[in-house]
């Protein structure tokens, strides 16, 4: 259902860049700003520094602007928030806005409102119309194409299962002639549980969902003594790993959380690799390193600039290259060699901090390109993630209401409505078609 009274939200800036601009327009916009910032007073048209909270935790420090209706671009209450452009912060703030009652804006919808509220003339409106009609055709095509997709296959399965369960409930509500046996409660409960789990599993594939829980894994690897632990400490800003020049000191993987421009990272310092090891503990450590590399979202391979074309290092690098999802190669100990030495990667010095900023930017670049969310994760949109979680909640409620069929149906209908965003609407005709094909319905 299209509605122009909703409060809409979207980023006005595209991906990438250090700063992102979030826009909110509509009657709830100001209220949402106040709730996000836990601050009660904003002067219209004045840039105000504020803190965005996620519960009690600080999400970001931002610059906010409040335009009071009708003196705004859209003619409604309009909020603009300039914030750091990390994917996690961005998706989280969107989610918070959605939870507070906003919905995602459609393409061109801010301009559309500006036009409808008399803030834009006919010529300008034509531009908006052009954008929407181009998107309309593209989206329609995409929808047709994605029908064959793996993902839409799973959505359809979920929809079919829900349609079947709802039909079983609806047919009993509409059964005037007592043709139906009572609802097989245990069977339906088991089915509901299964679909609920499917929805939840799908939701869990959401990038930020996973990243929130576990953090983005960044493995640091390289030969023994390449300076991995020193790099870890340098990145953390404190001494986490035992640093020793005795090769093979880090026998176990060491993990440490790091917040980098709003991303929650987990840095993993792995045991150094030597091809000839006899110590059992060290062999075990190396096995774990290999495992950590495979599981990491980003791998930093630390080469030792003081080593020259080392066969062992090259061999290990080849192995890491093949086993990592996103690889950053750094050349450490830049402080110990002549500065003009050319390398294909990043020259750093864990000792002096040289090149560290560039390394951090490399990491952010990878996160921003969202390669991470594209690989093994399915749900990429905050809206879909939220829809699936809501649907799962409704299914849980439906299972609790199996003795009150009309209420059970309300929850099932709500679940289907949430899934509408992912799989299109299930209409009352769809349900009736399903009922008539399966059940004998009397007068």
């Amino acid at each position: 259902m299209y509605d122009m009274h909703d409060t809409i939200v979207a980023f006005a800036t595209s991906n990438g860049g250090a700063v992102a601009l979030l826009r909110l327009s509509g009657t709830l916009a100001y209220k949402i700003l106040k709730e996000l910032t836990k601050k009660n007073n904003f002067t219209p048209r004045r840039a105000t520094l504020a803190t965005i909270y996620d519960g009690d935790a600080v999400l970001d420090k931002v610059l906010s602007l409040y335009f009071k209706a009708p003196n705004s671009y859209t003619g409604e209450d309009l909020i603009e928030i300039s914030m750091h452009a990390g994917p996690y912060i961005k998706s989280r703030i969107l989610e918070l806005c959605l939870m507070l009652g906003a919905r995602m804006a459609k393409e061109g919808e801010f301009s559309q409102r500006a036009f409808l509220n008399g803030k834009m003339d006919l010529v300008e409106a034509q531009g908006v119309l052009d954008i929407i009609s181009a998107k309309n055709k593209a989206a329609h095509k995409a929808a047709v194409n994605s029908l064959e997709g793996r993902l839409s296959g799973r959505f359809k399965e979920i929809r079919q299962e829900l349609t079947d369960i709802l039909s079983q409930v609806e047919v009993r509500i509409d059964d005037s002639d007592d043709e139906m046996q009572p609802l097989p409660q245990e069977e339906v409960k088991a089915k509901l549980f299964k679909v609920e789990k499917e929805a939840k599993d799908l939701a869990d594939t959401f990038s930020s969902g996973r990243l929130v829980k576990e953090g983005i894994k960044v493995a640091i690897c390289g030969l023994t003594n390449a300076g991995k632990s020193s790099l870890l400490n340098r990145l953390l800003g404190y001494n986490r790993a035992i640093v020793s020049s005795n090769a093979g000191t880090t026998r176990d993987t060491v993990e440490a959380p790091l917040s980098l421009l709003g991303f929650d990272l987990v840095l993993i310092d792995t045991a150094g690799i030597r091809l000839t090891v006899t110590d059992d503990a060290e062999i075990e450590g190396i096995t774990r390193s290999r495992q950590a590399i495979k599981q990491a979202d980003i791998t930093i391979f630390v080469r030792d600039l003081t080593l020259k074309n080392n066969t062992e290092e090259n061999k290990f690098f080849e192995e890491v290259r093949l086993n990592s999802k996103n690889l950053i190669t750094v050349y450490n100990k830049a402080d110990a060699v002549s500065s003009n030495k050319s390398t294909e990667g990043l020259s750093i010095s864990a000792k002096t901090g040289q090149g560290l900023k560039e390394l951090e930017q490399e990491i952010i670049k990878i996160l921003d390109l969202s390669n991470i969310s594209g690989q093994d994760m399915i749900i990429t949109s905050a809206t879909h993630h939220r829809a699936l979680l809501h649907a799962a909640c409704e299914l849980k409620d439906a299972a609790r209401k199996l003795t009150d069929l009309e209420l059970c149906a309300e929850h099932l209908r709500a679940a289907l409505k949430y899934l509408k965003e992912l799989i299109g609407e299930v209409t009352t005709e769809d349900i009736l078609d399903n009922i008539f094909s399966k059940f004998c319905v009397g007068k």
Binding site: M1, H5, L116, A139, I173, D177, E179, C440, K443
Partner: protein, 588 residues
Amino acid sequence: MFDFDKSFDVIVIGGGHAGCEAALISAKRGAKTLLITQSLDTIAQMSCNPSIGGIAKGQIVREIDALGGAMGKITDIAAVHYHMLNTGKGEAVWSPRVQCDKKIYQFAYKHFLEKQENLHILQDEATQILTKNGAVDGIVTLRQTKYKTKAVVLCSGTFLKGTIHVGKLMLGGGRYNDNAANFLSASLKDLGLKIGRLKTGTPMRINGKTVDFSKFTPQPSDNPYTPMSVFNRPVKKDFLQCFIGRTTDKTAEVLAEHAKESALYSGNINSIGPRYCPSIEDKAVKFPQNRHHPLFLEPEGLHTEEYYIQGFSTSMPEYVQYLLLRSVEGLEQAQIVRPGYAVEYDYVDPTCLTPALEVKNVSGLFFAGQINGTTGYEEAGGQGIIAGLNAALKVQEVEPLVLRRDESYIGVLIDDLVTKGVNEPYRMFTSRAEYRIMLRTDNADLRLTDYAFKYSLMPKEYEKYFQAYKEAVQLLEEDENAEINENNLGVWSLNVAKNTAKIQNKYKGYLDRNIKEAKALENADKIIIPDGFDPSEVKGILIESKQKLAKIQPKTLGQASRIPGLTPSDLQLILINIERFRREHNVK
């Protein structure tokens, strides 16, 4: 040709459940109304089952009652058995069903019509609808009389080119032994309307004297009972019983053996019947796994031994109908007094209608009931009251009443018809209502009776009672022991108020959720598509959407949004272009 010397505001063609409600309400609204029917003796005839109401249908009767219609009141007069359905579930889906004495029902209705001011009743058959400059101008009848009118409400039921089927036997007729109306379809075709065929059926009637009732489970009436109309109180009544039995393996065998002899499978009937309420032969083919279907013996009246067998609708030849009866325990000796049969009839694709039930390209022509592809007395009555009222309003140059999906089943029904069309006889189910928890039998008046006062369809003095009743429900919601003076409620009842308040509280959370969703719908329905603006011409919308918009010609953005397949972007484009159109043409 004889030109009748008096002209009418509204002529209602057809005296069935749609036509009677239409004629009454049009006259109540003050329009000079003529009701024309083939036979005064079959006015408001219950052609199929002897009951009014049922799941979702009972809700519609309450809505008709709340709007000032007659169906609920007549039902209470003719009632011989009350049964509240779905009491095993929550009150939101409780539905009253009332067995009626068929003769009392039709004669009580006839009497109502005869007493109504502004209403002229006439026995004749309409054969032609006359138009002038695209607007209704009059009708011509079989007796070659011309009546001038500004609006026509056509409620032809199953009579347009009706054909009766019993096995291989085919007879002309809209009901067994009642003539078909064979001329009017051509007139509709001339008006450019798309006509199709639908099918429905009815079971055999038997003589109760020949039934062994001991083999059936009696189903007594609810007692105390809830009257169908809120304006009636329970009174002492002579109740009749219904009886419940089941078909047997033997029934299934008979059906399998004689399947080909049914009019349905012999090739004689090509039109589409309903998938619900299927004939017994249809059940056997489509649901072979269910071998024992329930049967209900329902008395046809107080002064007759005739019984209707609900669940045994059939168009088998008469001798097979006997075999079927003999397969059922207790009906072995049953004597058929009227055979079951199927009837085929013309209907008009309802997407030719506006949400006011007016034909889009013929100003002043309204349709209600089976001509729109529906089935059921209640569905017919619900459309009749809206079509009749809107025809009167049209003549009086007042905006039509269009009920929303969140305020009534009637709104759901009409919106479905005119927005999606039909591909089988349309019957109401609660599953069709998105806002089921809001659309209950107990609150039909709270939802709709304000309209009755707005359009003067109820006695003026009732208004203060109704306002007091609304307040009472609100007070009781807040405090179930609130002091209410029942005298202020007049024809409304304190007990009902208490009950409604209790139900509203029980569903509170769900109702809030429904109301929130309905709000979005209401907002979209407030965006009127202005006259002269053709949404199918909007650049950038998908070709499929263009075709659908050209066919449906939605009146509001909300209606457009309910056309299956339209994308949110299509709607966005339409919205912006509406605003552009308004600015360019200076319309508000």
